[in-house]
């Protein structure tokens, strides 16, 4: 495992743990779901997330990785 893979693994593990911590915090911490739903409350926020989603799809599935 090279340095890059090690850092990505640590980031992924830390993110997964943090998501679990926020989920079990009884709404004292902002969860991934609450952040997403906060954006989806208006057209502007929804458009920002949909633009990011579209760009991600094009980048991952239609461009050289």
């Amino acid at each position: 495992m090279n340095l890059g893979q090690l850092v990505w693994s640590i980031l992924a593990a830390a993110l997964a743990i943090w998501i679990l911590v926020t989920q079990f915090s009884a709404n004292r911490l902002p969860t991934l779901q609450s952040i997403g739903l906060g954006f989806l409350g208006s057209w502007l926020g929804r458009a920002i997330l949909l633009a990011g989603w579209a760009e991600m799809g094009w980048h991952l599935f239609c461009q050289h990785p």
């Binding site: 090279n2 340095l3 890059g4 997403g36 739903l37 208006s42 926020g45 949909l50 991952l60 599935f61």
Partner: protein, 181 residues
């Protein structure tokens, strides 16, 4: 006040379930088919672009007049939250900062890996590409991407009751009643 927004909640849920019964098999079938069309193919480009257009159209059609806040009100709430962060609890504030740190760490490390261009520092796209080069991996990631898109297009569409409740505590919001852009 439109009748659509006052329909019984269970009736709306039944409509949603019927939509799901149709959309989920179509989405899974598409993801399976997409798995066999790697990134350089024209079919992959056309199909992904078509999905993007369909999802944005779906969001526009299903969400028309059903956003909880107007964009202006939402932006004001965001700016107010940034200008007065101490109005929230200390724990919430720390949690928000940790989320920001995660985003900055992921974007920063990806940018560094992209700029260095050495095999020891693969970008996130490169690592995901090692999964999408296989049909099964590509199909699974396309299915997850479709599910996320469906959530972003359809989630949190408000009822007329919710919008009326929101307008009742925003000064002057009744002047903009019905405007959601």
């Amino acid at each position: 006040m439109g009748r659509r927004g006052l329909s019984h909640p269970r009736r709306g849920n039944n409509r949603g379930w019927r939509f799901g019964y149709i959309a989920v098999p179509i989405g899974l079938g598409f993801a399976w088919w997409e798995g066999y069309h790697p990134w350089p193919s024209l079919a992959a480009h056309v199909s992904i672009l078509t999905v993007i257009v369909i999802m944005i159209s779906l969001a526009a059609i299903m969400g028309r007049g059903r956003q909880v806040y107007s964009s202006h009100a939402w932006l004001c709430r965001v700016v107010a939250g940034l200008r007065h962060p101490l109005q929230r609890s200390f724990v919430f504030l720390v949690g928000s900062l940790i989320w920001v740190a995660f985003v900055m760490a992921i974007v920063g490390w990806d940018l560094l890996s992209f700029l260095r261009e050495v095999p020891a520092l693969p970008t996130l796209s490169y690592l995901i590409g090692r999964v999408t080069r296989f049909a099964a991996g590509r199909s699974i990631l396309v299915a997850l991407w479709l599910a996320l898109g469906g959530f972003l297009a359809l989630a949190r569409r408000s009822s007329e009751h919710e919008r009326a409740g929101f307008r009742s505590w925003i000064p002057g919001a009744n002047r903009d009643a019905g405007r959601t852009s």
